[in-house]
Every structure is written in C-alpha cells, then in structure tokens.
C-alpha cells in the first residue's frame, strides 16, 4: 500500500492495570505528502500515540506499522526513517547551537563530509545561521523549537513526528514553524503534528481528533466543520453589555455554544433549531445575526453535544462589589532591569472595576515580567504597581489579601486532596471557623468536586485541576483576579466553562488581568496591552486593534494577524530610526 505511510489497527495502550486506558481501539491510516494533525486536549493520548509510533512504547494490543515496518519487531530499522521531536526536545542547554547539531549528527551517523552541507541547509532553513555559537539555553522559545526541528531533520526522515511543537511559542514563531514544516512535506514524507490548539487543526490536511484515548474524528478538518455549516453566526452591533448578552444567548435552547469575539459574540445553533429572537437577548436595536465561516472548534464542541451553559454559580455565590468605574489596578511607569538588560521599560496602564485586561506578547518580550510586578512577585526597578489603591511594595500583605492569583500550571499541592487544598488556601487568606467551612463546601458543590474528594490533586483530570485552582483563588472573594495563561492545555469545554465563571465574576465587579497565548482568550478581554521588547507598543479593545491594522492585503484581520502586523510595524519603525 504505497498510499499509506502509517497504519494503525485496533491499537490499545494502558499504562497500568488500575489506570484508565491511554488509548483504546484506535484504527487510522496516515498518508504521506501531507501534514496530519493529532489534535486533542491534554491527557487525550497524543503523546502516548506518538511514542507508540516511534516504538518507544509497544502496544498492549493491536498493530502499528510504519512504511510496512511493524513497531514491535522492526524497531531499529524504524528508527532509521523516523524523525521525532518530543515536547521538550532534548537540546543540551549548555551546548551551542552548532554543538547540538554536531551531537545529533554523531548520533545519527552523519559523516563529516556530508555534515557541512546538511548543517548549511538546516541553518539556512531555520534562520539560525547567525546564532550558531549561541548556547541553546539562551535561545527564545521559538528558536529552541526551530533548533529542535533542525536536529530532528539531520537525516531527512520519511516520517516526522512533532509533539506539540507550538506550545509556549508565540504566534509569530508559530507561523514560521508552520511554514518550515509545510516546506518539508513532499510525496515521500509524512508529517504528524500534535497540538492542543484547535485552530492549528485547520492548517492540517488530515486530522486525528482524540478525546480521552478515543479517536472521535479522522479525516480532513473541513469534513468535521461541515457539520456546523449554516449554524455559525456572529451577533454584531451589540450595544448593551456583551457578556450579559452571551449569558442570555446560552440560555436559549436554540444556542448550543457561544464565545465572546471582541465586541461581537459568536454562537453555534443547535441542529434543527431556528435562530434565537434578538429581542430576548436584549442586545440593543443595532444588533444583527451575521453568518460566519464554521471553525473546527465549533464542530468539535458540536460532536461533544454543545458547550456549557452561560450562568456561573460561582459568580452568583459571590458578594457583588460596588458598581462604579474606579481605577482598581494601576501600573505607572513599571520598569525592570536585570543587569544591563531591560525586561520591562516604562509600562503603564490602568484597569477599571469590572474590566478584563489582557497582556499579550511574544515569548521573552516582558509580558511575564510585567505581570509578576503587578502581583508583587517582582520588585520593579522603578515605577509602581497599585491594586485597589494600595502600593504592592508598601502594603504588600494588605494589597495581596484583595487579589486572587491563578498560575499557568494550576499551582495546587499535588499530594493534598482537593478539600485539603481548599482548606489551606482559605486558611492562608484568613477565612476561619464556620465561614471557612461553608465556603469550602460551596466550592466543592459549585465545581462538582465531590466524586474526586478522595484523590490527590495531582491525580485529578486536567479539567478538574483547573476548576480546583480557580476555586482556590477566589474563596476570599478578591476584588482583582490575576490569571497567568489560565487555560493552556485545557480542553475547549473546560475553557468555555472557565470563561463563563470569569464573565460572571466580572459582572459582579471583579477586575481581571490575564496573560495569554490563545487568541480566543484574548477576544474575551475588554482591552489588550501588547508587550514587545519590554514596551507596551499598543493597547485598546481587540476590535480596535483589528481595525487599526486593516490593510488592502488583509481587509478583515483576525486578532492574530493584527498582533503580527503590529509587531512588524513596530520593528519597521525602529529599524528606520534607531
């Protein structure tokens, strides 16, 4: 079968007797000449499947053949034709770019004579020519991934496996990685790209969609998107509060899924239902429903039976804060220098009560530094950060008791049970006695943690970890929430549920500062600050940034396109006048 590079037949894999199967009864074929996306949330089985393909794991049952080679019996031959780039590619951080390449060339038996050519080609290909002597540890996230890719390509593989190459990579570098991989594909080569970002699925010619170890879709992504053709709409021209409109829309039985997109709301209608009445949504007289192109994610949610509802029990249980437009979070000339390097340079912004403010920017641009200064984790070299009017450096305890913080990795105590985590965080924030007990019980109730109470937090499914982390950060009813990439790696359903809670909290007067790489998440923000080279180079509502970057080539830019254009414009301007 020349047309199939990889055949999977009834493949099952389990890590242990007492654990659920990591992959169950999977059958699929992968063709050469295209990029096949391996798509699914964290814990879906993507990495397990990749490791099975490389013969690093052997199937519990079923069969896996790569170009006719069985992974069980032909592992060593198989390794000759495979290029594998694991999530954390094994770059030696203390070796330079060229030393890393030499090492992998040695491992792959590429002789010295071939080497010069191969290196020249790969360095040109990845744009790393001028960084040959730099230590791998000093490269940015995107450059590390490119070097990883180069190392995996030292011998041109027939099957290239890329395990989440775009994690932690900003949109600009992500595009370059895609361009490079697409250039690689030819009649002979098969490429598998695994990702948790559903928008990346749309760039693949073929997709394997995994969920909890099961294959729920395989084929061209458009085939899945077709499911929801004619059912995707944007509510445009909303004059009222768009978050409340979304909450109301999600209560309508015609609507199965909805998200905020800047000033508009994107909804997917239930099959066989008509359109919801705009008057019920109370979206203002200008509001209208405009059909939009379906996305892979819309279809994915559709296969799962629709998204969660629009009301947040969490928000309902919170005391609402005064309704005014006071400035709650204020950054004033925040500057942070590490030695001679300026990580953040004179960053200023204000966030008013009930606003969601997003910090966006490429890796290493100063986004995290700014965020850390705002929540008091870093002391600014100059400038001040104020939360509810309190200087974080002068009254840290008092200011911190008013803020809630949720980190990227859901920093929970893994060895503690969910209840013990809740007890601890409520205790640390000064909740005592009956009030503490009630609050913890309410959180367990709201987030449906009861079935998981005996587990340790580290063994919870990722969606529950995320819920628990949110619960831990809001029990003291903070006035301000700091969210650091709060939904990375989480499945789209949990992400929607999360944003329902955040939207609800914002309606209660909570102020939110969020950093993110997800453009979807950025769309939920009222305003965005784009951080680049330590400076805030643009800020404003998402729609305003899109309008600002409109051009004849891109008449209706997405937020990601706007983001990239803004970075390019800034670079161009500063190269002219250094």
């Amino acid at each position: 079968m020349a047309n199939e590079s990889l055949v999977i037949e009834d493949l099952t894999y389990g890590y242990g007797k007492h654990l659920p199967l990591a992959l169950s009864a999977l059958s699929a074929t992968i063709r050469p000449g295209i990029v096949t996306g391996l798509v699914g949330p964290d814990g879906a089985g993507k990495t397990t499947l990749m490791r099975l393909m490389t013969a690093l794991l052997l199937p519990s049952s079923g069969l896996l053949t790569v170009f006719g080679l069985d992974t069980c019996s032909n592992a060593s031959q198989l390794h000759e034709i495979i290029g594998y780039m694991p999530q954390k590619f094994g770059l030696y951080e203390d070796l330079s770019v060229i030393q890393n390449l030499c090492l992998y060339a040695d491992l792959r038996n590429v002789t010295t004579t071939d080497r010069r050519q191969v290196f020249a080609r790969l360095l040109a290909f990845t744009g790393l020519e001028s960084f040959q002597q730099r230590l791998a540890g000093r490269l940015s996230g995107g450059m590390k991934q490119k070097l990883g890719l180069a190392c995996a390509l030292i011998r041109k593989p027939r099957l290239l496996l890329l395990d989440e190459p775009s994690v932690g990579v900003d949109p600009v570098s992500r595009r370059e990685l895609w361009r490079m991989v697409e250039e690689l594909v030819d009649e002979e080569t098969a490429v598998i790209w695994s990702t948790a970002y559903l928008d990346e699925a749309e760039r693949c010619q073929d997709v394997l969609l995994l969920d909890e170890g099961r294959l729920i879709f395989s084929g061209p992504p458009q085939n899945l998107s077709e499911r929801v053709a004619d059912r995707c709409f944007q509510i445009q021209g909303i004059s009222g509060n768009r978050r409340q409109v979304l909450a109301r829309a999600l209560q309508q039985q015609e609507v199965q899924d909805g998200i905020v997109q800047g000033q508009n709301i994107r909804i997917v209608l239930r099959a066989g239902h008509g359109q919801p009445a705009l008057s019920v949504l109370d979206a203002g007289s200008e509001a209208r429903l405009t059909p939009v192109v379906p996305r892979f994610e819309d279809a994915y949610i559709d296969t799962l039976g629709g998204g969660p509802g629009g009301t947040s029990l969490l928000a309902a249980a919170m005391t609402s804060l005064p309704r005014n437009r006071d400035v709650i979070v204020e950054a004033e000339g925040l500057t942070k220098r590490f030695g001679s390097f300026t990580a953040a340079d004179d960053v200023s912004f204000t966030i008013r009560r009930g606003e969601i403010f997003g910090l966006l920017g490429p890796n290493g641009a100063g986004k995290s530094t700014t965020f850390k200064m705002m929540c008091g984790l870093l002391r600014p070299t100059s400038g001040t950060g104020r939360v509810v009017g309190l200087d974080l450096q002068k009254a840290p305890g008092k200011a911190r008791s008013r803020l809630g913080y949720m980190a990227q990795k859901f920093s929970l105590y893994g060895d503690l049970s969910p209840r013990q985590n809740l007890d601890f965080f409520s205790g640390v924030y000064g909740l005592t006695g009956a009030h503490q007990k009630e609050t913890v019980a309410r959180m367990i109730d709201i987030f449906g943690l009861t079935p998981h109470l005996t587990n340790s937090a580290k063994d919870l499914p990722i969606g529950f970890k995320q819920r628990l982390a949110l619960a831990c950060s809001v029990m003291h009813e903070p006035a301000v929430l700091f969210l650091d990439e709060p939904t990375s790696g989480v499945d789209p359903l949990t992400r929607r549920e999360f944003w329902t809670h955040i939207n609800g909290l914002v309606e209660q007067g909570v102020t939110v500062l969020v950093t993110t790489h997800f453009m979807d998440e950025a769309e939920y923000c009222d305003r965005i600050g784009l951080i680049y080279r330590g400076r805030m180079i643009a800020s404003g509502p998402p729609d305003e940034l899109k309008t600002q970057t409109r051009s004849p080539q891109i008449p209706d830019p997405t937020l990601e396109e706007a983001f990239i254009t803004l970075l390019q414009q800034w670079d161009a301007k500063h190269e002219e006048a250094p």
Binding site: R379, G397, S401, Q408, S411, G414, L416, Q420, F424, G430
Partner: protein, 367 residues
Amino acid sequence: MFHRIRALIIKELLALLRDKKGRMVLIVPPLMQLFMFSFAATQEVKNQTLAILNLDRGQPALTLEQDFTAATTFSRVIHLQRSEEIPAVINEQQAIAVLWIPPNFSRDLEHGQTAQASFILDGRKTNAAQIIQGYAGRIIDRYRTRLADKGQQSGINIVARNWFNPNLDFRWFTVPSLVCILTTVIGLIVTGLSVAREREMGTFEQLLVSPLHPLEILVGKALPALLIAMLEGSLIVVVGVLLLRVPFNGSLPLLFGSMAVFLLAIIGVGLFVSSLSMTQQQAVLGVFMFLVPATILSGFASPIENMPHWLQTISYANPLRYFMTIVRGIFLKDVPVAVVWAQTWPMAIIACVTLSMATWLFKKRME
C-alpha cells in the same frame, strides 16, 4: 496571623505525610541506617595485639600490666625490653598500642606522687586507636579505684578518653552518634527540599502572592520540620534503647530541650539551602555540602582532637559537634544541667545566625 501559620503547618505536614511514599522515605531509611551502622558498620575492636614495656619491677606496675594482659580485647601480648623497640612495633603494625611503664612508676605511687605511664597508640588506625584508648581508660579507671580502696592517695597519669563505655560495647558509642546524625539528616532534608519543591511545582509563587508575610512562610516551614525531626529523633532513641539495648542514663527533658535548639540551628541551614536552590536536585546537593563536613567535624568518625588546629577552630561553628557531646553524655552518663547548658548556648547562637541568614536570603530571593 496564628490562623494563617496553622494553615501552613497543616499543609506542610499533610504534604509530607499524606503520600505513602513520602511517609516511607521519612521513616524507613533512617531506621535502616540506624541498624546498618550499629550492626554492619560496627567498629568493635577485638583480637588486637598489645605491646608492653614494663621497666618497673614493683608490684603496682605488675598489677597494671596484668590488668592489661587480662583484657579480652588483647588476644596477644608482646613483651618489650627496651624503649628503642617501640617505634618498630608500631611502625610495622605488630601491635596497635604500647603500654610503657617507666622504672619509677611504683616508687612514685608509694611516695604519693603522680605516677607517669604512657599508652602509645597506632594513630593511623584512628578509629580502632580511639576505641582502644577508651578500653585502656576503663582498665586504668578500675586500677585507680582499687588503689583508692587500698587508701592510696596518689594518682596515675595516663592519657585516657571515652571512658563512659564500661561494657566496652561499640554500639553504645554509635547509637547516640546516630541519634544526632539522623535527626540532622531529617531536619535538613525536610526543610532543604520544602521551598525548592514548591518552587518546582509553582506553588511557591502562589504562596508569595497570598497575604502571608515571608516570616510567616518561614515559620510555617520551620515548625513542621522541627516537629517531624523531633519525632524521628525520639523514634531512634526508643529503637536504640529498646532494641539495641543502649543504656539511657540521663534526663529526657534535657535531651529534648537541647535537641530543639540544635534542630533550630539545622533548620536554619536547611532553609538557607532551600532558598538558594531552584530545584530539589540542587537542594539535595546543597544539603550534602553541609552534611558531610558537619558529620566529619562532629567527632563521630574521628576525634576532633586529632584534627589540625584550623579544622578544630572551624568545628566550633558546627552545631553537630555540641549536640554529639550532649547526646553521648546524656545517654551514657547522667551529665548535669550545667554541662548540657555549656554545649547548648553555642548552638543557640548558631541557630540565631543560621535562621537570620535564612530569613535574609529568603526575603532577598523573593525579588
């Protein structure tokens, strides 16, 4: 504030003890080490050869010679004739020690003067020599008691240390030392890993953005470690006394009082290491960088007196040195409060220094 620290302590104890593996790591290896050291690594000295150069024909000298010859430790005795033979006997390792009784030994005793005798040990075999020295001390002690019984007022002077081991059982020496070393290990590991583990898991930032004051975090880390190390210390004492039959002659309150002060000094070191390390791996390395020299400079393996002067000076900064003295004293003879206090206040000063340094570094690293 009390409430917040309580939440921290509960969390810390749960994190250490809730996990079955975590509990095992805290309990099994120390007990294993205790048994290993007291059985396998026994340094009991038997079947040794003693050389005797007795230049005195008097009865007291003869009795002393017989006392040594009769000791079970020495299975072979070489009689020397001249003092010139001594270097050869030691150099060629024919005997581990030489008892040298000078000609005027008996006469001095009878005249009520201090009689001099020398006990020369093979210094290359530090451990064995030290133990033999202890045995010799015991023999001389008995000899002296007998003299006193006969109404002799005069003393004899032979270098003798470690005479608190009347049954000549090496385990009596090892177990108290292990109480010190193992509590040190527990105290260091628990605190050393605590901050580093939170840094690795990302929970540390979560603590830092909470209203907890850095000092509260440190107290919340120090107290559970103190509690756990004290419990482990007690466990080792109990096992040592009940299973390994080491006598316990001193006062428990004194032992625990001094142990608490000692552990505070150790915890200060552990927290310092932990604040410095970004990963648990670094923390473990850091802990060992302290642990190994501290153990060697404590007098556990080789006597501090045998070390060069500058090392002896350094050893005054080692809390383990003082605690070792206290524990051996409390175990084997009922040392008075004054003696314990004399060893405790230096540890208290060290504790103040290490804890302040940990606090300083902890605050500094937060930025």
